[in-house]
C-alpha cells in the first residue's frame, strides 16, 4: 500500500470530492482510470476496512522485511512524481496463505490529510470486483492506442535517424562490432548492412529493417533512402495525429500523394535505350552516382567503368552470379581490375602443367577419394590380411578405371568439386592433366557456365559429355597469392572483378559498394528509364504533391502536404550531412523548381544548387520508384497499428 501525493493533475481531478480513494490496481496500472471513477462505492468499503480486520488474499511479493508490496516506483509507471511510500505492518499467516491487514492506524493518520490518495490493491475482497486476473500469459505485454502508436513512431524514427547520417555523398560511415566471438568489426555506410546487424526489440523498427532488406534484394541500392523516407513520413504523421487527424485519413492522403509522386516521376523520366552510346553514358552516370556515396568515391570513375563493363557483358540478365568478385588484400583500390576470363582461387596440383593452351575442361562433381559403395548395408568383412590387400587393390583398380575413363574424355584439365586424393592426383599428373580439387559449388557452377561444359558425375559415355573449352589456363599471381586464370572462355557473359585494397575492412566495404552498383546497373539494363539525382527527383515529386494538396478538399490535404515535406527531407538530409546550409539550399532549390523543366539539384561538392544533367548525376527510375512505394507501404503499415501485443520472449537455456 502506498500513497500518492496529489501532484498529478489528472489523478487529482478525477478524485475531486473524495478524501480517500481506494483503487484497484493491477500490476500495470492500466486499469486505474475506470476504478477511480467508481471509487464512491469503494469508500464504503474503506469504512468497513477501517473498523474491521480485512482478510486479504496474498498475491503480492514479500520482501525481506515482510513488506508485501512492490516498490511503488516500479509499479506506478507514469505517475512517479512525489510518490511516498508507507510501509504497512501486516500479519502474514503462512498457514492459510492469507494476509491480514490492519488498516486502522494508517487510515486514522491519513484521513486528516485530504491531499493523500490511497491506492490499494484490493484484488478480490470486494464482491463487485471486476478484477480480471490476467488475460495474457506471463510477461506478455500489451500497449494500446496512443501509447502503441507512440512506441512505434519512436522506434521507427530512431531507426531512421540512425542511418540518416550515412545518406548522400558526404554521409558518414558506421562501425559495427559483432557480439559474437572475435568481435569482428565492419565499417560500412550501406543502410541494409547496418540495419541487418542491429538487434532491435521495437516491432515497428523491425518493419523498417525489413523494407531495407527487401530493397537490397530487389534493386540493391537506396536502402538508406527508403528507411529515411519512411521515418520522415512517420515523423510527419505523428504531428498530424497530434493535431487530431485520424490515422486512416493520413493513410489515404499518403496513398494519393504517393501515386501522384510516381506519376510526376514517370513524366520526367528519360529513356535512352535506343541510343547505345547515350545509354552507356547513362549507366556510367548512375554507377558514379551510386558509388560517390561509398568508400569507392575516390576512384569512382574507375569503378564505374568496371561495373558498367561487367554489367554490359551480362547482356540483360540480372544474374549477378556470373560476375565474380575476388578480394585480395594489398595494393590500392586503384589496382582493382576487371578480368574477362575466369579466376579460380585454387592452386594447381603438384607436378602438373602450370600452363595449358586450348584447354578441354571437364567439370565434375564426383568422389575422387575412395569411391564408396552406396548400396545400403554393404560393408567389408575379411578374415585375413591378404584379403584386405586384395580388396584394397580392387579399390585402387576401380579408381584407376575411373581416372582412365575421365582421361578418356580427351581432356587436359579436370576440375572437381570434391576432394581429389593423392592417388588419382598422381594419375592425372602422369597423364599430363591439370587437376583442380575442392572447387566450391559456386565456383563449379560458374566455371561450367563460362566454359560451356556440363557438370558431370558419371563418366561412361565420353562422347556425349559436353566439355568446356578455353584458350588458356595459367597460374597467375595477385599480390602473394597464386590463382588459376582461365582466359579466352567461350561464353562472354562471365567476368571476374579483382578488388585490391589496403585492408579487409576496405575490401569488404568496397565489395558491398560495388555490389550495389552492379545491382542497380543490372536492373537499369532491363528498365532503362533514368532520372537525375542529387535531390532532383524528390523536389519534382514534392512539387507535384504540393499541387495535389492544394487541389484536394478535406483533411486529406494536410496529409498530402506532409508527404511533400517528408520528400523534401531527403535533399535536406543530404545537404545537412555535407555540412551545408540545408534551409538555404532547399529553399533555393524549391524556387528553381518552380520553373518548368529545371534540372536543379544539390551539388554537394561545391555546396550550391547546380544543374544535375551537366554534373552528370543520375539515378535509376526503378530504384526511386521502389524507395517511394515501399517507404509509403511501411509507413502505412505502422500507422494502422493501434495496439501492440508482445509475447514473452522464449526462454533460452543458459549454457553456462
Amino acid at each position: 500500500m502506498f500513497a500518492i501525493r496529489s501532484s498529478d493533475p489528472i489523478l487529482l481531478n478525477a478524485c475531486k470530492g473524495f478524501d480517500v480513494i481506494i483503487c484497484k490496481m493491477d500490476a500495470r496500472h492500466s486499469h486505474i482510470y475506470p476504478y477511480v471513477e467508481r471509487s464512491s462505492s469503494f469508500i464504503c468499503i474503506l469504512g468497513l476496512l477501517a473498523k474491521t480486520e480485512v482478510v486479504m488474499k496474498s498475491g503480492i511479493n514479500e520482501d525481506a522485511n515482510g513488506n508485501l508490496w512492490r516498490k511503488p516506483t516500479e509499479t506506478i509507471g507514469a505517475w512517479q512524481t512525489g510518490v511516498e511510500t508507507k510501509s504497512v505492518y501486516m500479519n502474514y499467516d503462512s498457514m492459510s496463505t492469507k494476509v491480514k491487514v490492519k488498516f486502522r492506524n494508517l487510515c486514522d493518520e491519513n484521513l486528516e490529510n485530504p491531499n493523500l490518495i490511497f491506492i490499494i490493491t484490493v484484488c478480490s475482497i470486494c464482491p463487485h470486483s471486476r478484477y480480471i486476473e490476467k488475460i495474457l500469459k506471463d510477461e506478455a505485454t500489451e500497449e494500446k492506442g496512443e501509447r502503441a502508436r507512440m512506441a512505434s513512431f519512436v522506434g521507427a524514427m530512431a531507426i531512421a535517424d540512425l542511418v540518416k547520417t550515412t545518406l548522400g555523398p558526404k554521409g558518414m560511415d558506421k562501425i559495427l562490432q559483432s557480439t559474437g566471438r572475435g568481435h569482428s568489426v565492419t565499417v560500412t555506410n550501406d543502410g541494409a548492412t547496418i540495419l541487418k546487424s542491429l538487434h532491435i526489440d521495437n516491432p515497428a523498427a523491425k518493419v523498417l529493417i525489413d523494407i531495407s532488406k527487401v530493397q537490397d534484394d530487389e534493386v540493391g541500392d537506396g536502402t538508406t533512402s527508403v528507411v529515411v523516407l519512411a521515418g520522415e513520413l512517420l515523423r510527419e504523421a505523428e504531428k498530424l495525429v497530434g493535431s487530431k487527424i485520424h490515422p486512416m485519413t493520413i493513410i489515404s492522403g499518403y496513398r494519393m500523394a504517393a501515386e501522384c509522386a510516381r506519376r510526376a516521376l514517370l513524366d520526367k523520366v528519360k529513356d535512352n535505350k535506343d541510343d547505345a552510346e547515350k545509354f552507356r553514358s547513362d549507366l556510367m552516370r548512375i554507377a558514379m552516382t551510386t558509388l560517390s556515396s561509398k568508400i569507392l568515391s575516390q576512384d569512382k570513375e574507375h569503378f564505374a567503368k568496371l561495373a558498367v563493363d561487367a554489367v554490359m557483358r551480362l547482356k540483360g540478365s540480372t544474374n549477378l552470379e556470373s560476375i565474380q568478385i575476388i578480394k585480395k588484400a594489398g595494393g590500392s583500390l586503384k589496382d582493382s581490375f576487371l578480368d574477362e576470363g575466369f579466376i579460380l582461387d585454387k592452386k594447381i596440383g603438384l607436378g602438373q602443367p602450370k600452363r595449358i593452351e586450348n584447354a578441354n575442361i571437364l567439370v565434375a562433381n564426383t568422389a575422387m577419394d575412395t569411391d564408396k559403395v552406396k548400396i545400403y548395408g554393404a560393408r567389408v568383412r575379411v578374415d585375413s590380411m591378404a584379403k584386405v590387400a586384395q580388396i584394397e587393390g580392387a579399390e585402387k583398380e576401380k579408381m584407376r578405371e575411373k581416372v582412365q575413363k575421365i582421361i578418356g574424355h580427351g581432356i587436359n584439365c579436370f576440375v572437381n568439386r570434391q576432394l581429389i586424393y593423392n592417388f588419382p592426383e598422381e594419375l592425372f599428373a602422369d597423364a599430363g592433366i591439370l587437376a583442380i580439387e575442392h572447387a566450391d559449388f559456386d565456383g563449379i557452377e560458374r566455371l561450367a557456365l563460362v566454359t560451356g561444359g556440363e557438370i558431370a558425375s558419371t563418366f561412361d559415355n565420353p562422347e556425349s559429355v559436353k566439355l568446356g573449352h578455353c584458350k588458356l589456363i595459367e597460374e597467375i599471381m595477385i599480390g602473394e597469392d597464386k590463382l588459376i586464370h582461365f582466359s579466352g572462355v567461350e561464353m562472354g557473359q562471365a567476368c571476374t572483378i579483382v578488388l585490391r585494397g589496403a585492408s579487409f575492412h576496405v575490401l569488404d566495404e568496397a565489395e558491398r559498394s560495388l555490389h550495389d552498383a552492379l545491382c542497380v546497373l543490372s536492373q537499369t539494363v532491363n528498365d532503362s528509364r533514368v532520372l537525375l539525382g542529387g535531390g532532383w527527383p524528390e523536389m519534382v515529386m514534392a512539387k507535384a504533391v504540393d499541387e495535389l494538396a492544394r487541389k484536394t478538399p478535406g483533411k486529406k490535404s494536410h496529409a498530402i502536404e506532409a508527404f511533400s515535406r517528408a520528400l523534401i527531407a531527403i535533399p535536406t538530409t543530404i545537404a545537412d550531412n555535407a555540412g551545408l546550409d540545408s534551409a538555404e539550399l532547399v529553399a533555393q532549390l524549391r524556387a528553381e523548381h518552380h520553373k518548368e523543366d529545371c534540372n536543379a539539384g544539390i551539388d554537394v561538392i561545391t555546396g550550391s544548387v547546380g544543374d544535375m544533367s551537366e554534373l552528370g548525376i543520375s539515378e535509376a527510375f526503378k530504384v526511386k520508384q521502389a524507395v517511394l512505394l515501399s517507404a509509403t507501404e511501411a509507413a502505412e503499415m505502422i500507422l494502422r497499428v493501434d495496439e501492440i501485443i508482445t509475447c514473452a520472449p522464449r526462454r533460452r537455456e543458459d549454457r553456462m
Binding site: K206, I211, H246, V373, I375, V380, R640, D642, I645
Partner: protein, 535 residues
C-alpha cells in the same frame, strides 16, 4: 465448502488441496468470466470495419505480425485466461466455418456479455438470460433469411462476386488494390469450383508469396508454382508440353527396410556390387526415359551420379518437392504419384503445357512455374509485396476473400453490410420482444441492444458520432422500411448499402450470430471456477 460432514459429524474433504486452488463461485464467477470475455472483445473492437486499425503482435521468437484479422490476432495473442481462450476458439471456429467475420463475431459476443451482466445485476437468473438470447438469436437468423437477397451470377458474370469480395478486402491493408485482388480471388475460386455440386475445394488454390515487387504485381496463375529449382544448374529452364513423372522414391541406392548386411569378402563381390550399383542408377533413369517423361518431380533427393545421369539423358528434374505441393501438381497435371520406379507407366505421367523457371530480383531466388496444365482445376495466387509482413497480411486477406467467394457459390444469398443487417435484426428482435411474456423479454431486448453494438463500433472506428449515427440510421430503416441502410464508413454521402455495394454473405452473418450466442450461453452457465493458483 470443500469440507463437508457426514451423518456422524466427521469431516471429509470434497475438494483436495483447496488451499492451493483459487475458487470463484456464483455471481462472482459469472461476473469475472464476463469481464474476461469483454476484455478480449474490447481488444478487437477497434479493428472492425473499413477504418479499423491494425494490431502489431510480437511472437516469442521476436517475429512481427501486423494484422486486423480477428482470428489471427487472438491466435497469436497468447491468451491465458480460460474465458479468453473460449473467445479465441469462437473466432477460430468462425474462421474454419466461414473464413470471414472473425472480428465481428467476437465483438458481438462481447456486447452480448456486457448486456448479460446488466441483467444479472438486476437479479435475473443466468439460465433465463441464456434462454432469452437463444430465442432472440433464432428470431434474428430467421429475419436475416427474410431480408436476404438472392444473388445471380454465372461463370461469365462474376461481377456480383467481385463486389462482395471487395467488401471483405476493404477493411484490410490491401484495400489499395482491392479491385484487382477481389478479381483474382473470384477467378481462382471459379476456376476450381464445382458449380454443379456448389462446392469449392479451397485446397486446390495455393497461395504463394514472394517478397519484392509491389502489391499490384500479384497475379493469378492457372497452374502451380513451386519454390524450387532444377536439380542440376545446367538443365533447361523451360520445357514445353512437359510430361511429368511425379515420384516419391529417391534417386538413390535402395534401402531395404528389413535389416540386412551385405558382406564383402572377396574382390569379385566388390566388383559385382559396384556394377550393380551403376546398373541401378542407369535403370532408374532409363525407366523414366522409357515411359516418355520429359520432367521428373521427386519428393526426395538425388545422388550426385543420378543427378548427372538425368542431366546427361536430357531429363530435367526437380528434387525435394514437398508432399502437399506434389499432390497439387498431381491434381493439376492429371498425373499420378508414383511410389516406385517399376510402377511408372506412360498413363501415370502428368501433362503441362509449359514449365519454366523464373528468377527474381538481385538474389538468386528462383521459382518453378507449371502452367497450362491438363486439368486446370488447380490454381496459384502469387503475391508480391514490399515486405514479409505485407505478404503475410495479404495472404490472410486473400484467404478471407476466397472464403467469401466460396460461401457465395455454396449459397448465393447475401445481406447488406456496413451494419445494415445488424440494425435490421435489432429492430426485428426488439419488436418481437414484446410478444414474450416472462423474464425472457428483458433478455430479448438486451439482445437487440447487443446487436446494435456492431454498427456502433463501425461508426466509432470511422470517426462518426456513434449514438447519433446509429439512431439516425435506425430511424431511417424503420421509416422507409428499407433494410439496406447502414453506417457510411467511407464518407461517401449515402448510407444505402445497395448503392455502396457493400455485401456480406448470409451464412456468414447467420453463423456469427449463432456462434456468438452459443459461446455467451456457455459462459453464462458457468457458476464455479476452480483453478490451481500459482502462489
Amino acid at each position: 465448502m470443500a469440507l463437508a460432514f457426514d451423518e456422524y459429524g466427521r469431516p471429509f474433504i470434497i475438494l483436495r488441496e483447496q488451499e492451493s486452488k483459487s475458487r470463484l463461485r456464483g455471481l462472482d464467477a459469472q461476473k469475472a468470466n464476463i469481464a474476461a470475455g469483454v476484455a478480449v472483445s474490447r481488444i478487437l473492437r477497434t479493428s472492425l470495419g473499413p477504418k479499423g486499425m491494425d494490431k502489431m503482435l510480437q511472437s516469442p521468437d521476436g517475429d512481427i505480425t501486423i494484422t486486423n484479422d480477428g482470428a489471427t490476432i487472438l491466435e497469436q495473442m497468447d491468451v491465458d485466461n480460460q474465458i479468453g481462450k473460449l473467445m479465441v476458439e469462437l473466432s477460430r471456429s468462425q474462421d474454419y466455418e466461414i473464413g470471414d467475420g472473425t472480428t465481428g463475431v467476437v465483438v458481438m459476443a462481447g456486447s452480448l456479455l456486457e448486456q448479460a451482466e446488466k441483467l444479472l445485476e438486476r437479479g435475473i437468473h443466468p439460465i433465463r438470460v441464456a434462454e432469452g438470447f437463444e430465442i432472440s438469436s433464432r428470431i434474428a437468423v430467421d429475419h436475416l433469411e427474410q431480408i436476404a437477397h438472392k444473388f445471380d451470377f454465372s461463370a461469365t458474370n462474376i461481377e456480383p462476386l467481385v463486389q462482395t469480395c471487395m467488401t471483405t478486402l476493404s477493411s484490410k491493408i490491401v484495400n489499395r488494390c482491392k479491385r484487382s485482388l477481389a478479381e483474382i480471388a473470384v477467378k481462382s475460386v471459379m476456376a476450381v469450383a464445382d458449380l454443379e455440386r456448389k462446392d469449392v475445394n479451397l485446397d486446390l488454390i495455393k497461395v504463394e508469396g514472394k517478397v519484392g515487387g509491389k502489391l499490384e504485381d500479384t497475379e493469378l496463375i492457372y497452374g502451380i508454382i513451386v519454390d524450387k529449382d532444377m536439380s542440376h544448374p545446367q538443365m533447361p529452364k523451360q520445357i514445353e508440353d512437359a510430361k511429368i513423372a511425379i515420384l516419391t522414391c529417391p534417386f538413390e541406392p535402395p534401402k531395404p527396410k528389413t535389416k540386412h548386411k551385405v558382406d564383402i569378402d572377396t574382390v569379385e563381390k566388390f566388383q559385382t556390387l559396384r556394377k550393380q550399383e551403376q546398373q541401378y542408377f542407369d535403370d532408374m533413369v532409363q525407366k523414366c526415359k522409357d515411359v516418355g517423361a520429359t520432367l521428373v518431380i521427386c519428393q526426395w533427393g538425388f545422388d550426385d551420379e543420378a543427378n548427372h545421369l538425368l542431366m546427361h539423358r536430357n531429363l530435367p528434374a526437380v528434387r525435394w518437392v514437398g508432399g502437399v505441393e506434389l499432390e497439387l501438381i498431381a491434381i493439376a497435371t492429371g498425373g499420378r504419384i508414383v511410389p516406385r520406379f517399376q510402377e511408372l507407366t506412360p498413363e501415370k505421367l502428368g501433362k503441362a503445357g509449359l514449365v519454366r523457371e523464373k528468377a527474381f530480383g538481385t538474389t538468386k531466388d528462383r521459382m518453378l512455374y507449371i502452367e497450362h496444365c491438363a486439368n486446370s482445376k488447380a490454381v496459384t495466387i502469387f503475391i508480391r509485396g514490399g515486405n514479409k509482413m505485407m505478404i503475410e497480411e495479404t495472404k490472410r486477406s486473400i484467404h478471407d476473400a476466397l472464403c467469401v467467394a466460396r460461401n457465395l457459390i455454396r449459397n448465393n444469398s447475401i445481406v447488406y453490410g456496413g451494419g445494415a443487417a445488424e440494425i435490421s435484426c435489432s429492430i426485428a428482435v426488439e419488436a418481437a420482444a414484446d410478444k414474450y411474456p416472462g423474464v425472457e423479454q428483458y433478455a430479448i431486448r438486451a439482445f437487440a441492444d447487443a446487436l446494435d453494438s456492431v454498427p456502433m463500433a463501425l461508426a466509432e472506428n470511422s470517426g462518426l458520432q456513434p449514438i447519433e449515427t446509429l439512431s439516425a440510421v435506425k430511424a431511417q430503416q424503420i421509416k422507409e422500411n428499407n433494410h439496406c441502410c447502414g453506417i457510411d464508413c467511407n464518407d461517401t454521402g449515402t448510407n444505402d448499402m445497395r448503392e455502396q455495394n457493400v455485401f456480406e454473405t448470409l451464412i456468414g452473418k447467420q453463423q456469427q450470430i449463432l456462434l456468438a450466442t452459443q459461446v455467451v450461453k456457455m459462459i453464462l452457465k458457468i457458476d464455479d471456477v476452480i483453478s490451481p493458483s500459482d502462489y
